[in-house]
């Protein structure tokens, strides 16, 4: 924020021009909902070129509806992508636990374990392994946190395919990716047609709401 360049300004204007394409695009909070929390998390390892910090990206769905999402640069440099992913897993677990608490306040008892989807087999293996050794010593806090959640039956980890839509959270994306993103996302567009006599027809133009 101290050294703002012309390039930053142009990039910002481009985001605004992107906004112009679908200003009415929003999200649908579906009425058919099983009230189960699903978390999806990923990390982009060492993506920030100046300090080599990694990026965390996650999104949480209640049933089919997206309710919480975030992209954030991590505080500490990760030495491997598994480490970066593990940190993002711990962050997502945090948010999942918090949302579960919020649901409890609304009298929704989340009896089944929450699902956390992660694309790194290594990070999954670390969380299943009860023994911490040299390679995981420095991320021990995160390890204990996720591991405890699994032991308590609060969380179940699921592996998903690497080329996921989560990339939209932390990478610039090409035209093909964004096409697939539309195909497989929660993105909806709405048009209201005002007819004579004040009848309003609501037309949903929506893309298949299945996450790859």
């Amino acid at each position: 924020m101290q050294q703002l360049k012309e390039d930053h300004w142009h990039a910002t204007l481009r985001v605004v021009r992107y906004l112009k394409q679908h200003p009415g695009q929003g999200i649908l909070l579906s009425s058919k909902c099983d009230l189960r929390l699903h978390g999806w998390c990923d990390a982009d390892w060492a993506s920030f070129p100046l300090t080599r910090r990694s990026l965390t990206g996650w999104i949480i769905f209640l049933g089919d509806s997206p309710i919480s999402w975030k992209t954030k640069r991590q505080h500490i440099v990760s030495r491997s992508s598994a480490e970066a992913k593990y940190r993002s897993m711990a962050m997502t677990t945090c948010e999942l636990e918090w949302l579960k608490g919020i649901l409890f306040i609304f009298n929704v008892i989340h009896s089944t374990p929450m699902l956390l989807h992660c694309d790194s087999q290594v990070a999954l293996d670390i969380s299943q392994n009860p023994v911490f050794h040299d390679r995981t010593k420095h991320i021990e806090v995160d390890c204990h946190f996720v591991h405890d959640a699994i032991i308590l039956g609060v969380l179940v980890l699921v592996l998903f395919l690497p080329m996921s839509n989560l990339q939209i959270f932390y990478q610039g994306i090409g035209k093909t990716t964004i096409f697939f993103f539309y195909l497989a996302s929660w993105a909806f567009e709405i048009f209201t047609l005002q007819l004579e006599g004040g009848i309003v027809i609501i037309v949903y133009l929506y893309y298949i709401s299945v996450f790859i």
Binding site: L4, H8, V16, P23, G24, L28, L29, F48, G172
Partner: protein, 74 residues
């Protein structure tokens, strides 16, 4: 207390209710931002950002009016 009817607009979020659920969008807010920068007539961009951008390593000239930039990104 007065019943104001079905929720339609709250804190900048437009809400439509139907049998399928609630649809939330910020069309007005988005259009306000676009008109503020004067890009209402501009060609829409397909993609919000370049792939593999190098913004952090940019060597272009410093921005003359950073206030507008800061205002735009909030």
């Amino acid at each position: 207390m007065k019943d104001l009817g079905v929720l339609k607009y709250f804190l900048g979020v437009e809400i439509v209710q139907s049998l399928e659920g609630f649809y939330l969008c910020q069309r007005k807010y988005a259009l306000d931002i676009i008109s503020e920068v004067g890009l209402l007539g501009a060609k829409p961009a397909l993609v919000p950002m370049e792939q593999n951008h190098r913004l952090a390593l940019s060597t272009s000239t410093l921005l003359a009016d950073p206030e507008l930039y800061r205002h735009l990104i909030g």
